[in-house]
Symmetry: C2
Subunit: 886 residues, 2 copies
């Protein structure tokens, strides 16, 4: 028979850390902590399999669960000596969710379960603290009514505000036992008024309601959105943890806190956390009271006045610190811990591998290798490649003028500029229109996830370093400034006021998540400086990766940046970008608008020396490395004159009339330029263009070869749909090469290949390979054509598609493996069948996406190529992909 | 050892009609005619394999060919008693090309070969006709210099004109023997002047030059173009026929002519042809002299004054008529024959299956079945489906006002209106811009092929019913009026003058190829009436075909037309076309421009009854047949208001402002609408649209079921890229069906399926089939995405692509089998693996293209669907495809 309930605590551990899939992360780690002798309140876990069975079974529990839960309760009663529902020594429990992957704030929790009009008296009596007992009861009613009974929590908050006003007090702590008792009566009346039935008094009813609510919360909209954003399958399910209550709010020898064994922001090897005296766990996370630091050092660093835990509770702190050491050694990773001190006794409520910034991940991994805790390969595995993005992108220029409005908490590093959006929906809307958005909220909640995802950065007026906004922003790699208390947000007038200045929706702000600064307008940025940790990790990654990493670049600055980031050549040099230069655009336009070859050749003659020097500069920077140059690709209309004066310039240069140019421009108009006269089709129609480009490449290569290391030019023909096109252009290129080599009396090695970026090219790869030394998968265009989606136009529906699961992911971010991927695999197979040594790579933007890099490794490509700033990400991802295949 | 030379004539036939691949059509049939005892001048054929060997071998002949050709010459010498190159009884030969498929005018011919300064004297002496001998010699120099030596033929024509002017005569017939002798001297001097060497006097040199020229002409540009247009592989090669000359220009008992055993235009079982007394073959075809009719009946029908052959040469005519009967019975097909009468003796120079109009093909095939000459299945095989197009398209409305300018020869049936283009290049250019073009030429030549192909119709001032223009136009199915002598075309001023009126390039004319009328402006057209022959052939076709044929139609008129043409249901009913109706477009615009669901629902409520009645009408017409209705597909911007007043209308209807509407319209703009927010993406974003359409379908179906035979609605979801989209929409449709069935208390059977029109859909067909009752291949869009070509923008390069062989055919006309076709086959296989009984069809325009229909048969589709006028074409093509697989 399936075992649904696993016990932990009091020397018993039915499970352990290996049982995460079955018990969820929280349940598995509670069992593990109990088994290594740490103080964990006893409890039991109902398995994730129960969640699946619950949904498969029309949201009903199987009969045998009842007895298993009763025996689980018996286990807790035995250890604690308390009895669930008894008038004396009543057992109170918490009911919490715990899925396989951490889903912060997404699942619901009920504390103090078991309290009723009867047991509250016992609790008052036995704790000797009537106020505590009634406060706990009113919290329980409030939480249970919200989470289990589905009542609006404002009902209770309003009642509490009224009670405080009536009494003329501001803080909860000023409320007495009698005040809470009176409020409980009001709360119970509210429940009966809203629901037409009284608040459940039977602890068994309470318990089953709680269990059901946890399972039910697995399928709420916000949970679904979170899962989709984080690639968590619905089939995993959640576990339910029922555990004896311990109280951090039983007076000044009680406390509750959260801690990281190292600094999750910087990775420094120092305890990092916050606690509140006389509080329950939710008080810390919710950001309602500003918490105190754990260590004296941390407190002193910010000159906070309230004592640290190290100072306020030295003995318990020492026990806690010892626990940190034990846990980190045991898990060989930085831990994120929840604890409660009940009347001087420490209890651990949770441990898990802590989320961290990229910088911290890097430092922790490298430090742990130095300490012999983990291997180099393990360090490579540990760092999320995507997270490096935070480190690699520009930060605010220290010399740029900053119009600082206020300073909040540096909750997630990185700088972001954007226009203000006051709601998640607005943030999403503006982002879809292409704006950089800053989501500005009093505080964030799980309902805001989609807006946080759409935003470049997050700014909140309330909440600490472990508030919802901070935790989620760090997880997403979004810069975040939290708790910027000087901000005043007026919902009605949609205005943000700070330092006497007002900002409306759509106004631009900048935040620095590394310092907490909030600035008006946009602030210039600079390149990040990379630490030695970064270099060390990259070196280890390079040792294990199989695929080369190149870059997509065409400006000297980008080429240099990419080499510094470790690029091993250029995978895509887009020649059309060189044509937009102000000096050249008139010649380019003259070329396009000529209606005969003579006119085009005249313009091309002017462009030849320019292209030659472009290529020569790139070859110098990439000396000795392969440089893949794509021949002219985009629809010519992109170069079309925009203004009247542009037409004048071209008319003058080409000795023709503006009218005639305009007629020609109108002729060149296309309905779907993406599918129009571009790529190799230009080379077929106007071979003189490719002739000029090929000549420029060969002449430049010979020039550079004469002065330094020879480059390896790889000439790439775009948008090929079959072998005959490539053969025609290849013949042209080879002919030009022969001409140049004869003229110059010297030669250089070169390759000719093609992009595979149309479905037909993938299908015909076998024929195409006859004439191609290499294939480079242009997965941007291949995605557009395979899925029939124009990237420029997709914003209006693509977000909804991903949210609704109609597409697994944004296919422009992460390669659509089951569609586009199959075409790539097919082309690899067919290309190799014709030419076993064909060079295979990818130059779509997917080359910098870790999941796509894994795909490329599986597909057996020789290299990936991506934008300069993503080169380190690709190096690390390629290393992880290679490790995953070992 | 390979045998390169095959003899025929004089009782010897090394080959026969089965050897077309080896000997070419002309050579095989010459051998065949000789073997059945018909009078064929003796000769030999050099095989097509020699052509291939010649090109494989760097355009060199193998040594052994020399002796084989010599022995071939020996064969002719033996039969004729003449000697090649001898000063007495010199043998003269013709050298002609002859490929496997007829390529009219594409290959070059040399007559009178063997003449030189010496043999011409012998010819004069022995024929007793000095004038004839010198005329032949000058013709030979002229033709040989043009074809073999590559001299411009104007050189000789100018010299001839000068000679005639000097002498003050207008016609060649007025030239004397001495005149021709003098001209020969001038011609020879011209050759030496142009080439720096004398005209070759050695007949062996002449012969080898001629043979080489024929083989060389296989690879001229115009031959390549013709092959591409007609799908003839270059590997077939041409044969060379060397044959004893016979002369139709040896006085008034000599003649030359071409004939068809039945009328190639109407199919009437009456000899049809033309001849010229005292002329060589080229004179008939070139259209320089206007020829005489063969039969008295034909002459009398047009009241021509010159006697028919039947009247002028009754004995030879009788022999010829007997030959016609013999040949037609022997080949069981209508024959196209070339003959020469030399001093009263009939010689046959060629026979082949005659090209014919669709009408003639139909009548001949049906007549031959009636006569027991061929089987019904053979009749089905005989008629080119594509040719039916001529019969099915509208002809000129007999009641329309016609501004008749002149009447020429009715050279190829059908009516065409178009703007005048005076050159083939201009015709092509204008056609690419989307104009209907009429190519207007003095006469056409093989260099004009591309312009004839691009034109809707062809009009020439000179040339008979068998002129180049006429033959090629009939082959291409283009209407043609030839020999309209009243036309005067001034090249310099680019003006056509006729009946005292002038027309410029770009002015519009209409021609009626059935009557020869040439009209100013555009003339209204009417539906064709179909003959009993058509019905008979269609009935035979329907007996053998496996695939059903449906139509793409949405207007009642089209639906009715399609049923009359035999459509067995609707394969594609495009609902968006119904939205363009003037009454509805405002509601449609209101729907699009709403920024909320409420506004959209309001507009949809107005559209529901309209759509319901649209569908009801179609269901009534298609009672008992399947009707596939595609839910809204196109990018919404197609419906966008165009004029200011449109905005006003919508603003009034929806109670909003024009400004707001314009803002929304700007938001909806797309860069690549083909790849934009369309198809099922609309249904996902605005489910209320598909809800309305599904409701309209079910309500209409129930209404029609109540009054007559129930329709079978097949609801088709467009642009699906994966299973989840289809599942979502299918769920919506099934829910609406349930609602409507409950409301009405009755049910109707229906199917839900999807278009496969994106490469990803083909790849994911296995998953998609889980939710699809049917797949319909939308090969228009599938071609656009697989090849990355926007059909709207392709004109600028696609023609060149097909001409240069970069694509095998226009992929929008004939399915790209090796690209798109592979995706179709993949989807068929994967769809069937999931759902073995899935219904499979095609609704792209390829459904009416015979080659594509063959592909569909091979792929195992259940039906093809095409535009109403192509339904009979598809029926016939499907029958032929089924026969081809037997």
């Amino acid at each position: 028979m399936t075992k649904w309930v696993y016990r932990f605590g009091g020397g018993v551990s039915d499970g352990g850390k290996g049982d995460k899939n079955l018990l969820g992360g929280k349940g598995a780690n509670l069992a593990e902590m109990a088994s290594i002798g740490l103080p964990v309140p006893p409890g039991f876990t109902i398995t994730t399999e129960m969640c699946t069975a619950f949904y498969d079974n029309g949201e009903q529990f199987p009969e045998e669960l009842t007895s298993e839960v009763q025996s689980g309760l018996g286990h807790i009663e035995k250890i604690t000596g308390k009895t669930f529902g008894a008038s004396q020594q009543p057992l109170l429990v918490s009911v919490r969710s715990g899925a396989r992957a951490s889903m912060p704030g997404m699942m619901d929790t009920v504390l103090n379960l078991g309290l009723n009009d009867d047991t509250v008296e016992a609790l008052a009596r036995e704790s000797g603290d009537e106020r505590f007992a009634w406060d706990s009861y009113r919290r329980f009613i409030q939480m249970y009514s919200d989470v289990v009974l589905g009542l609006d929590h404002y009902v209770f908050e309003d009642a509490l505000e009224i009670a405080k006003e009536d009494k003329g007090v501001a803080l909860d702590t000023e409320m007495t036992a009698d005040d809470w008792r009176a409020l409980v009566a009001i709360f119970k009346a509210k429940v009966e008024e809203e629901l037409g039935r009284p608040f459940p008094q039977d602890p068994q009813d309470q318990l089953w309601g709680g269990i059901r609510a946890v399972f039910a919360s697995w399928q709420t909209e916000r949970a679904k959105v979170y899962r989709r954003l984080n690639d968590i399958p619905a089939s995993w399910g959640t576990a339910v943890n029922v555990q004896a209550m311990v109280f951090g709010n039983m007076g000044d020898t009680s406390a509750t806190g959260v801690a990281f064994t190292r600094d999750p922001s910087t990775g420094n090897n120092a305890y990092y956390g916050e606690f509140l005296i006389n509080a329950q766990g939710e008080d810390v996370v919710a950001g309602i009271r500003t918490p105190q630091y754990l260590t004296r050092e941390a407190r002193e660093a910010v000159k906070a006045s309230k004592p640290s835990m190290e100072e306020a509770m030295p003995e318990v702190y020492a026990e806690l610190a010892a626990t940190f050491e034990k846990l980190e050694a045991h898990y060989a990773d930085m831990q994120d811990i929840e604890f409660t001190v009940e009347q001087g006794k420490l209890w651990l409520l949770q441990t898990r591998n802590g989320k961290r910034t990229a910088k911290a991940a890097l430092k922790i991994a490298v430090d742990m290798v130095a300490d012999g805790l983990i291997s180099e390969e393990e360090a490579v595995r540990r760092v999320e490649p995507q997270a490096l993005d935070q480190l690699l992108h520009p930060t605010l220029d220290p010399d740029a003028k900053r119009d600082v409005l206020t300073v909040g908490l540096p909750a997630s590093p990185g700088a972001a500029s954007g226009v203000i959006a006051f709601t998640a929906d607005e943030a999403e809307r503006r982002a879809q229109l292409g704006d950089d958005v800053l989501l500005v909220r009093v505080e964030t909640s799980p309902e805001d996830i989609h807006g946080m995802h759409a935003a470049r950065g997050i700014l909140t007026a309330r909440g600490g370093m472990t508030s919802h906004a901070a935790v989620v922003a760090r997880g997403m790699g979004r810069p975040c400034v939290s708790g910027a208390g000087a901000l005043s947000i007026d919902r009605d007038s949609q205005t943000l006021t700070v330092a006497g200045r007002s900002f409306k929706e759509g106004d631009r702000l900048t935040i620095d998540g590394g310092t907490g600064e909030v600035m008006a307008g946009e602030v210039a940025t600079v390149q990040p400086e990379l630490s030695g940790d970064f270099a060390a990790l990259m070196e280890w990654a390079d040792k294990v990766r199989r695929m080369a990493v190149r870059t997509n670049a065409e400006t000297p600055a980008d080429c240099r940046a990419a080499r510094e980031f470790g690029a091993e050549g250029i995978g895509l040099c887009r020649t059309e970008h060189m044509f937009f230069d102000a000096d050249r655009i008139t010649s380019v336009r003259q070329m396009i608008l000529s209606d005969d070859e003579g006119g085009r050749r005249e313009a091309l003659a002017k462009l030849l020396p320019e292209q030659r020097s472009d290529f020569a500069e790139i070859f110098r920077i990439m000396a000795g490395l392969p440089v893949t140059i794509r021949l002219l690709d985009p629809p010519l209309h992109e170069f079309m004159p925009q203004r009247e004066s542009d037409y004048d310039d071209v008319a003058r240069a080409s000795g023709t009339s503006v009218d005639r140019l305009k007629r020609r421009a109108a002729e060149l108009h296309e309905f779907n330029p993406m599918l129009g006269h571009r790529g190799v089709r230009l080379g077929v129609t106007y071979p003189e263009i490719y002739e000029m480009q090929a000549r420029a490449i060969f002449e430049a290569a010979l020039d550079v070869q004469a002065e330094s290391e020879a480059p390896l030019p790889e000439i790439m023909v775009p948008l090929v749909m079959g072998a005959p096109e490539l053969l025609q252009i290849r013949t042209l290129i080879d002919r030009v090469a022969e001409q140049v080599f004869t003229e110059r009396g010297e030669k250089i090695a070169y390759l000719v290949g093609t992009m595979i970026e149309l479905p037909r090219a993938a299908l015909r790869a076998g024929d195409i390979a006859e004439h191609a030394d290499f294939f480079s998968f242009g997965t941007n265009d291949l995605t557009q054509t395979t899925l029939g989606i124009s990237r420029d136009d997709a914003a209006r529906f693509l977000g909804e598609y991903v949210d609704k699961g109609l597409l697994p992911k944004d296919p422009f971010v992460s390669l659509d493996e089951t569609g586009v991927g199959e075409l790539v695999e097919m082309a690899v197979e067919r290309g190799r069948a014709t030419r076993p040594d064909i060079k295979l790579g990818i130059c779509g933007e997917h080359g910098g996406d870790p999941a796509s890099v894994h795909f490329c490794e599986k597909a057996g490509l020789a290299y990936v190529s991506c934008s300069p700033y993503r080169v380190p990400i690709a190096r690390l991802a390629a290393a992880q992909a290679a490790l995953a295949r070992q």
